[in-house]
């Protein structure tokens, strides 16, 4: 099987978020870049699929050279080769364009069976690119797959469980298809030391943004920059919600115990009723 994984690098959102002086972007100065956590599940699912059915896993990642670190991590986990679509301006363009560019490169790779990718990226949180790549490739997609139940390369189909509001559905989708991964569908492995050594020797193809044939992709000449974007971020604010921080504690130790339990319950209800007015 040929299994592709779309992997992005993201800012680690566990950190404090600061708006840059221009006011329309996040200050990435001191931030750590990591593999998008949802993409880790996608890489793991791809490797498990390969382990079961044989074949190869190809990583595709868009961005400047810092993404090489993320690509190497995926290779060290067990992917076989990678394609970097290299450019600085992709962060400012729209998902439509990125979807077309990735789709265009995938077409050059020849036949494939499945594309896995994370359900969204944790910094931008747009959750569009994967689905839009599927559209560009003209293949079906199944989003938010909590479990890949069966992949049948010979019968050219996959069976997946997908979460929906109020339950879940089991769907059968013909291959090739694209699957987007939430968390918790598997347990992403760590890269082993030998894996890290091997990763250095695995093939990497670099495609430069300047060399893309935009016209062939049906994109305008400005498509790759901020000016050509269908949607532009003009301002970013950091939500500031002041919390009351009224915490009821025990008298001797932090935890309420014994008689204090009843009293703390009463006190909380009083606060919710009289101060917050929510019950």
């Amino acid at each position: 099987m040929k299994i592709l994984v779309l992997v992005s690098q993201t800012q680690d959102t566990e950190a404090k978020i600061q708006v840059s002086s221009s006011g329309d972007s996040i200050d990435t100065g001191g931030m750590k870049w990591i593999m998008n956590p949802y993409d880790e599940f996608a890489v793991e699912e791809a490797i498990q699929t390969k382990e079961k059915h044989g074949g190869e896993v190809v990583i595709i990642s868009v961005g400047p050279d810092r993404v090489l670190e993320t690509i190497r991590q995926a290779l060290a986990m067990g992917a076989d080769s990678a394609v970097q679509i290299k450019g600085d301006s992709f962060a400012e363009t729209d998902s439509f364009t990125v979807g077309k560019v990735i789709g265009g490169e995938i077409k050059k790779l020849g036949d494939f069976d499945i594309v896995f990718t994370g359900m969204k990226i944790i910094d931008e949180e747009s959750g569009q690119v994967g689905v839009q790549v599927a559209e560009e490739l003209g293949i079906p997609h199944v989003s938010l797959v909590s479990k890949v139940i069966q992949v049948d390369p010979a019968g050219k189909k996959a069976v997946c469980q997908k979460e929906i509001d109020g339950g879940h559905v089991t769907v059968e989708v013909p291959l090739p298809c694209l699957i987007t991964c939430p968390d918790a569908m598997n347990e992403p492995r760590y890269a082993s030391l030998p894996g890290i050594m091997k990763a250095k020797k695995k093939p990497l193809t670099v495609v430069n943004a300047e060399d893309l044939n935009l016209e062939e992709l049906g994109l305008s000449a400005q498509a790759l920059g901020k000016e050509g974007a269908r949607v532009k971020t003009t301002q970013i604010k950091v939500p500031e919600i002041e919390r009351k921080l009224t915490i009821i504690k025990g008298s001797d130790e932090p935890m309420v115990k014994g008689e204090e339990v009843e009293r703390s319950a009463e006190e909380l209800i009083k606060l919710l009723r009289e101060e917050a007015k929510v019950i």
Binding site: V159, E163, D165, K232, I248
Partner: protein, 331 residues
């Protein structure tokens, strides 16, 4: 291009119209259609859906496009994508809005790619920019940032909106019904639903609820989640959970609140035995009042809640629930 503003109805599995549809109609009527000078229209796509047109009219739709087709039964991304894309190509609306439900998240980006539209997801405000284009705000960076995003003059401009972000206000109209006239070829629907498992619940839906009671890993078992359900039922609240609780099998996946799970912003959020991770807060951090019950005084949630009790849930919750019960009974 017309300057129509469309709101695509988001339907529940039982076929009823989700509240987010009415919220979107109300907000789009005031903030978008009014300013653009365009007609506010509803769109109904599904099987046996024509009857809902009047409901959309109640919230301001002056025209309702209908694609009613047996092939659109159940959860069918491909069918919906075809139906909405064809409608857009035929009638060229300026703006297309949908609900940011699991369903909307699934097919809106796909439709946008098919018709060449710009699209944003999960908007918490919608408006018109100085350039007369759509302007939205949404959460990003695990809900730690709120970008304002402005559309380029490229049509249509598409967005999904977060449930419970706007008020649904009645504004009765007698809508003109337009049959969509969209053909769907059965061969174009390649993904088949083999099994649909749904469960009935009398509790409100998480994303629509005014109150949410959630449990975390500290509940310790599926059995103990009854404490969550009891309190939820007394308060007429929805029941939620953390990923750790879902992962441990204490409750079903669709109760998960957070970055992966549902985004909620109720008036009251009670977090029981939940540590307060960044990812959980990404889904409930904008709640009006946050209450925490946790036995660890150093749990991060105590740094970002309004009220809290440091205590063991098994000590604190039973008397708290009883007292709330009698309070509610007194009225």
């Amino acid at each position: 291009m017309s300057n129509e503003v469309w709101v695509v109805a988001d339907l529940k599995i039982d076929g009823s119209v989700r509240k987010v549809t009415f919220e979107a109609l109300s907000e789009a009527g005031n903030k978008v259609a009014g300013k653009l000078g365009g007609k506010l229209c509803g769109v109904l796509i599904g099987s046996g859906v024509s009857g809902h047109a009047a409901e959309l009219g109640k919230y301001g739709a002056e025209k309702v496009y209908v694609v009613d087709n047996d092939l659109l039964k159940d959860f069918n991304t491909e069918g919906y994508t075809i139906a909405l894309s064809e409608l857009i190509k035929k009638h060229e609306p300026a703006v297309v809005i949908g609900g940011n439900t699991v369903f909307g998240q699934d097919y809106f980006p796909r439709v946008a790619a098919r018709v060449g539209a710009g699209v944003t997801m999960d908007a918490i405000s919608i408006d018109i920019s100085e350039q007369n284009t759509l302007k939205i705000e949404r959460f990003s960076h695990s809900s730690k940032a709120i970008p304002t995003q402005v559309f380029h003059q490229n049509y249509p401009m598409m967005t999904t909106v977060r449930p419970n972000s706007f008020k649904a206000v009645e504004n009765p109209k007698d809508p003109e019904i337009v049959e969509g006239g969209v053909e769907i070829n059965p061969a174009d629907i390649k993904t088949k639903v083999i099994e649909l498992q749904t469960k009935e619940s009398d509790r409100p839906e998480l994303t629509e609820a005014e109150r949410v009671i959630s449990g975390g890993r500290g509940l310790g078992s599926e059995e103990n989640f009854k404490y969550i359900y009891q309190l939820a039922d007394i308060l007429g609240a929805a029941a939620g959970a953390t990923r750790a609780a879902v992962d441990a099998g204490y409750c079903p996946y669709d109760m998960q609140v957070g970055q992966t799970g549902k985004a909620v912003s109720p008036n009251l959020y009670i977090a029981i035995a939940i540590s307060g991770s960044v990812q959980h807060f990404a889904g409930m951090g904008s709640s009006k009042v946050i209450v925490a019950i946790n036995k660890d005084p150093d749990a991060p949630i105590f740094q970002k809640c309004d009220y809290g009790i440091v205590g063991d849930l098994f000590d604190v919750l039973p008397p708290f629930t009883e007292k709330v019960r009698s309070l509610i009974a007194e009225g």
